[in-house]
């Protein structure tokens, strides 16, 4: 191990409420107000969607973007657990928490976007194997369950030896402690099944998410419409996994007044370069094989968004991750990671919203204040829960002087 100090996941002890947190709470409440409108008066009352543009940012950002940006979960699980690279264990738990919350909000995003939200369970009963959306739906459901299961050991770790129920319930403390220990033992034996399943499920639905728009055929702008969309979605999800971990680690470190784990993060950054490179190669290769570069000579929303997505979202961060100076500098590494995250998010928005050009549109789609409010509100609630979770559960690794080299790194997420 190359680490110069040893760390241990520890609940963060800080004040929950800060001015920033209060802003997040206000934005969350604003989103919930618009969400209530949607529930009482229908989708049309809040969104700019219509029969020509049936999907907007609730699908493009909340669902497609959410799934892509939760990719840190399976990429770090593959690196830390499947490949057993212990030095990365410190980032596995935060990534797992992000993925778990991310998928929870993806599910919530789908639920509020579908017209009959109370039928969200239907795909479990009514199957359609030819539907890419069915595949995504089932995979996301199973994967969310896997993520919660992977998080369970963190819960048992938090409460084993610390069960203290109030009042007369305290008589149950011993029993619950025993149950938790039994659960922990049981989980540690089967956890590898869930970890591998999580990686497999992720590769499946990350790519199937790309299959979704293939059937829209000529209704999708040729710059994005390609039969290799599922592959591009998978490649971009894999390359955004580590940047997302860097992005959130540095944000969390800043928010809690800690030093970012540069030793790990710069290595993650270095690994991102080849992944982004492969993605870029396929993206450019596809463009040349289908000769879609001709569409870049026309100046319109699509061509500008495509160029921004490729240049700012892939080429610039790729060049940055290749530079030793960037990898060593926290602010530059943060910028490179943020650009990658933004690039992939933009790609999902482009695929689902910008590229979608229906044949009989009476105008183009732009999200309403209600749609933006709900999306922003959801993101704020996610951040608020994340903040609470890392204060309650041992997720973020802090330096631990009492600990000798960590031998007992079991697979726990």
């Amino acid at each position: 191990m190359t680490m110069d100090h040893f760390t241990k996941p520890t609940p963060i002890q800080k004040k929950y409420l800060t001015p920033g947190v209060i802003v997040l709470i206000l934005l969350a409440l604003n989103g919930l107000a618009f969400l209530a409108l949607r529930l009482f008066f229908g989708i049309g009352s809040v969104t700019n969607l219509n029969n020509q543009y049936p999907w907007g940012i609730w699908i493009g950002i909340d669902v497609a973007g959410g799934v892509a940006l939760a990719a840190g979960g399976f990429t770090t699980a593959a690196l830390g657990h499947v490949m057993n690279r212990k030095e990365y264990h410190a980032v596995v738990r935060p990534a797992l928490l992000t993925a778990m919350l991310g998928y929870t909000f993806v599910a919530l995003g789908v639920t509020i976007d579908i017209g009959r939200w109370y039928y969200i369970w239907h795909p479990i009963v009514f199957w359609n194997g030819t539907s890419a959306l069915f595949e995504v739906g089932i995979c996301v459901t199973i994967y969310a369950t896997v993520l919660y299961t992977e998080f369970l050991p963190i819960v048992t770790e938090r409460f084993i030896g610390h069960v203290a129920l109030p009042g007369p319930l305290s008589r149950l403390d011993g029993v619950i402690d025993k149950l938790l220990r039994a659960l922990e033992r049981g989980l540690s034996k089967v956890m590898f099944i869930f970890i591998i399943a999580g990686v497999v499920l992720s590769t499946l639905h990350q790519s199937s998410l790309g299959t979704l728009m293939v059937i829209a055929g000529p209704k999708m702008h040729p710059l994005w419409q390609t039969p290799i969309l599922p592959f591009l979605f998978l490649l971009s999800a894999i390359s955004v996994g580590f940047p997302m971990v860097i992005f959130e680690s540095m944000l969390a470190a800043r928010s809690f007044g800690m030093k970012p784990e540069m030793a790990i993060l710069s290595k993650l950054g270095a690994m991102t370069a080849p992944l982004l490179g492969i993605y870029l190669a396929f993206k450019i290769g596809d463009m040349f094989i289908r000769e879609t570069f001709v569409y870049l000579t026309v100046l319109n929303t699509q061509s500008v968004m495509f160029m921004l997505e490729i240049l700012l979202g892939v080429v610039v961060p790729l060049r940055m991750f290749l530079s030793r100076g960037v990898l060593k500098s926290p602010p530059l590494l943060f910028i490179a990671a943020s650009l990658t995250v933004m690039g992939v998010l933009m790609n999902r928005i482009n695929n689902f919203v910008v590229a979608y050009t229906p044949p009989y549109s009476f105008g183009s789609y732009f999200p309403s204040i209600g749609e933006v409010s709900v999306t922003v509100g959801f993101i704020c609630i996610l951040v608020l829960i994340y903040r609470a979770a890392v204060m309650i559960f041992p997720v973020i690794s802090l330096p631990d002087k009492t600990l000798s080299p960590r031998a007992r790194y079991t697979i726990r997420g």
Binding site: H122, I193, S208
Partner: protein, 299 residues
């Protein structure tokens, strides 16, 4: 992980694999998608259509949709704007200029095309759409969750959604008068058409009739029957006196809309072999990477 021995690791991995393969035999379940040789269709002759819009009225009446009295459909001002079918009108008629005779513009009835290989049937997450033996592509309200993927997928942008309904909003589109036809009646629009612009019959027969008309009256029709080959063929087919693109028909290839995405889906899930193989590969990778206890346990 340390407490797990090799045998157990292998055993569990095998159980998972077998489970996934077991699932694959059940995964064939899907919506009804029949392509009967006797399926019915409608031939729309846009050169015969007089733009009376009686079909719009008949359609609303047959489907219990609110409508103004038939007399109000004489109003030609609606033609000034292009209209599309929506949740309040399953079919609409649009007017287009006739370059050969400015006084006799073309009018085109629009509704669901009842594709032979419908994109909506392929994509619906719960299989709420089905292609019936009688040619109708119909929607099942008991299954639908309102995800609107059918609207994204439809090459003709036909399915509409009740955006203003909070509880149980419907997907709305022409159902080819499935209920009426079961009772032996004609589709409402066909029955009411005074100009005989709509011909109801076996789809293959209609294609023959349409081809025959274009051959016999080349001065009246442009070549080709829209819907004969487009997206693998549609149940409703069209004849026109000007290029179809001038009548705002979408430019579509001859491959069925679900073709590419279904083959991708089937490639990824070919009997669950790729996912199971990936699972096995990752399991193997995990196995060789893990620290096996040697003599002294690492705990």
């Amino acid at each position: 992980m340390a407490r797990l021995d090799r045998r157990e690791f292998l055993k569990s991995s095998l159980v998972i694999g077998a489970g996934l393969i077991g699932l694959s035999t059940e995964a064939q379940a899907g919506p009804k998608n029949v392509l009967s040789p006797d399926r019915m269709g409608v031939l729309v002759d846009t050169t015969a259509c007089i733009g009376c819009r009686n079909c719009e009225w008949a359609c609303k009446t047959a489907h219990d949709l609110p409508t103004n009295p038939l007399a109000s459909y004489q109003d030609k001002s609606v033609f000034e704007k292009m209209r599309r079918p929506d949740d309040k009108a399953l079919t609409v008629v649009n007017r287009y200029a006739n370059p050969k005779d400015p006084d006799a513009p073309y009018t085109v009835k629009v509704q669901c095309m009842h594709c032979d290989h419908p994109a909506c049937v392929s994509v619906c997450i719960v299989g709420a759409f089905s292609k019936q033996e009688n040619g109708a592509v119909v929607w099942d309200t008991d299954k639908c969750i309102g995800c609107r993927y059918c609207m994204v997928a439809c090459p003709f942008q036909v399915p509409a959604f009740e955006y203003e309904t909070a509880l149980k909003p419907n997907i709305v589109k022409c159902d080819f008068c499935a209920a009426r036809r079961q009772g032996g009646e004609l589709p409402a629009c066909v029955e009411t058409c005074p100009a005989e612009a709509l011909t109801y019959g076996p789809r293959d027969e209609l294609v023959r009739i349409a081809r025959d008309r274009t051959k016999r009256y080349p001065e009246r029709y442009v070549k080709g029957v829209f819907g004969e080959y487009e997206v693998g063929g549609t149940g409703w087919i069209y004849l026109a006196g000007v290029d179809f693109s001038a009548l705002q028909f979408p430019k579509l290839g001859n491959n069925p809309a679900p073709g590419i995405s279904e083959s991708i889906q089937h490639g990824i899930f070919a009997y669950f072999v790729p996912p199971v193989a990936l699972y096995a590969l990752l399991g193997a990778l995990m196995w060789v990477s893990k620290d096996w206890p040697e003599g002294e346990d690492e705990e």
